[in-house]
């Protein structure tokens, strides 16, 4: 009854439950799963207020209410990087510990206008810096499948919010894999759209040429519904474009050799190969492709991204809002210093300029690959979830966790993390990448896969 969006809406419209009951259900789950530290703020009162208003509309208009509120009764959480008017927004950092935004992000406004009900703000690595959730100034988020392991990051709380059944859907941000990797570690869908498909107005900026707003969901159909509501130009984020296309035939799947290297855990690889067999069995054409410059992606990413981080975090002066710069944690300091270094006179050519050229090389290789295939399949993370504390003392080791996800950000192309298979108690999966604005094709291929494997989402 509280599973997918369509299931919940059916129950509401048939009179079996009220929107208030939906809010009750998820708030109770949040209380039960408090130990996971998924939420930094729970917006209990706002959620009930919104639900009561919707219940009145349902009793006045019946089914017709869906024309005004297509996402009626859908409970959503937001990574604490999205500004929410009147509701504290911390970015997971003590710098913004008591910051109360006076306006909301475009995606927050669009979500609420379409009927979604905010239940709270989720924990994350401070400033979205991390691949484990451990860099949050408010303590780590725990993996719901095994509490001694990380849920992935940086959108740790958002992934757990959906995987543990604490909300229908959640919004995160993906600068180098921060939606896809935690979705993979928690066993749910995670969409990183095309760069410029979803507005970043009112989102705490990390690295502006890479940042994307992404969606977490347990059900593929829910991900598509939410994406359709928030996408498109808003007159505020100047990087936005409207786009999308179909190809009108069965997509050809490309297998990039470089993503199946010996650096990837055999358990992860074997599982992706099994997924590939499912596709082949379903009549999909599969082709090997080459993306030889993939090996430079981490270097390019960890030069360009800190450079942009150092610029974006320069605005936190403790004067107009927020606390002083003394409150920045070690990881933010490391990235600001690294970014300042690669942009500084004497080092700019050697690092930033070089990285931006290699970025072009990586983009060209993707363009070439998409001439012969429609989507690419690969692992999401080179490993299964790691233990809390395992990588936190070694930043380089942590950065290398992003090796298979950063290329999509570098090229600005969409990618979808798909849950499939298990290893011990942990979920596994794969990602699908496509050319810019090919989200519909990714949904189509993932939907076909879901049918072929008869996949059912069960919250932990």
């Amino acid at each position: 009854m509280f599973g997918s969006i369509s299931e919940t809406q059916k129950a509401i419209l048939s009179g079996d439950i009220k929107c208030v009951d939906v809010v009750d259900h998820f708030l109770q789950k949040i209380d039960e799963k408090k130990h996971l530290n998924a939420f930094l703020t729970v917006t209990r009162e706002q959620a009930y207020d919104a639900a009561k208003k919707q219940d009145k509309l349902v009793s006045s208009y019946g089914r017709a209410v869906l024309e005004r509120l297509p996402l009626l009764g859908v409970v959503v959480s937001y990574k604490d990087l999205f500004l929410t008017k009147g509701v504290r927004t911390t970015a997971g950092s003590r710098v913004l510990e008591s910051y109360i935004p006076t306006y909301s992000a475009t995606i927050v406004e669009r979500s609420h206008t379409s009927g979604m009900i905010m239940i709270g703000k989720t924990n994350c690595d401070a400033w979205a810096h991390g691949a484990s959730g451990e860099n949050s100034d408010f303590g780590p988020t725990l993996n719901p499948h095994n509490n001694e392991f990380v849920p992935g990051g940086s959108s740790s709380g958002s992934a757990v919010s959906v995987a543990a059944g604490l909300s229908h859907v959640s919004f995160g941000t993906d600068t180098g894999g921060s939606v896809r990797q935690p979705a993979n570690f928690c066993g749910i869908y995670g969409l990183k759209p095309t760069y410029g498909a979803v507005s970043r107005y009112g989102v705490v900026a990390m690295a502006s040429s890479l940042d994307c707003v992404g969606v977490f969901s347990g059900y593929l159909g829910d991900c598509k519904k939410v994406f359709d509501v928030v996408r498109g130009t808003d007159g505020r984020d100047a990087t936005l474009k409207n786009g999308g296309f179909h190809i009108g035939r069965k997509p050809v799947i490309g297998v990039p050799d470089e993503y199946f290297s010996e650096d990837v855990d055999p358990v992860v690889l074997e599982n992706v190969m099994q997924a590939l067999e499912v596709f082949k069995g379903g009549g999909y054409k599969v082709k090997r492709v080459k993306l030889p410059s993939t090996k430079y992606a981490i270097s390019v990413y960890y030069i360009v991204q800190p450079a942009e981080v150092s610029s974006n975090l320069a605005r936190y002066d403790g004067i107009r809002f927020g606390e002083s710069r003394e409150m920045f944690g070690l990881e933010a300091k490391r990235r600001i210093v690294l970014g300042t270094f690669v942009l500084s006179s004497g080092y700019y050519d050697e690092y930033y300029k070089k990285a931006s050229k290699v970025r072009t090389l990586i983009i060209n290789e993707f363009d070439e690959a998409f001439k012969s295939v429609d989507v690419l399949i690969s692992p999401v993370s080179p490993s299964t979830p790691f233990r809390i504390g395992e990588k936190s003392a070694d930043p380089l080791k942590m950065y290398l966790s992003d090796i298979l996800t950063v290329p999509a950000n570098i090229a600005g192309i969409p990618a979808l993390s798909v849950p499939f298979g298990r290893y011990k108690e942990f979920p596994l999966g794969f990602q699908l990448m496509g050319p810019k604005f090919s989200e519909e094709i990714l949904f189509e291929v993932a939907g076909d896969f879901e049918r072929m494997t008869d996949y059912k989402f069960i919250p932990v």
Partner: protein
């Protein structure tokens, strides 16, 4: 060969970014950054004769119509500021008279 970031350079970079770090933090950060820079050396060998990419949308000169629109109210803009005076943000003195 491992690249060194001297503590002097690190202190200078921190100062440029308006940050400070304890002696202990310096001891931790310096070798970590050296290790990361060392990893970047794979780019050194690479000869790339391509223009750089700073954004992927291809959009240029995105402007809105030049007409007056409503903007944030003063009280909203100042809401999170710790120190204000007569509708302005109050800061420490930056320029001093000689």
């Amino acid at each position: 060969m491992e690249k060194k970031i001297s503590k002097e350079l690190l202190k200078k970079l921190l100062a440029m970014a308006h940050l400070s770090a304890s002696q202990e933090d310096l001891e931790v950060i310096a070798p970590q950054l050296a290790k990361v820079l060392d990893y970047f050396s794979d780019l050194e060998q690479l000869n790339v004769d391509l223009p750089g990419t700073s954004q992927t949308t291809g959009l240029q000169n995105v402007f809105r119509e030049d007409k007056i629109e409503s903007s944030m109210a003063t009280e909203d803009a100042l809401y999170n500021s710790k120190s204000t005076l007569n509708g302005f943000v109050k800061t420490d003195i930056v320029l001093q008279k000689k």
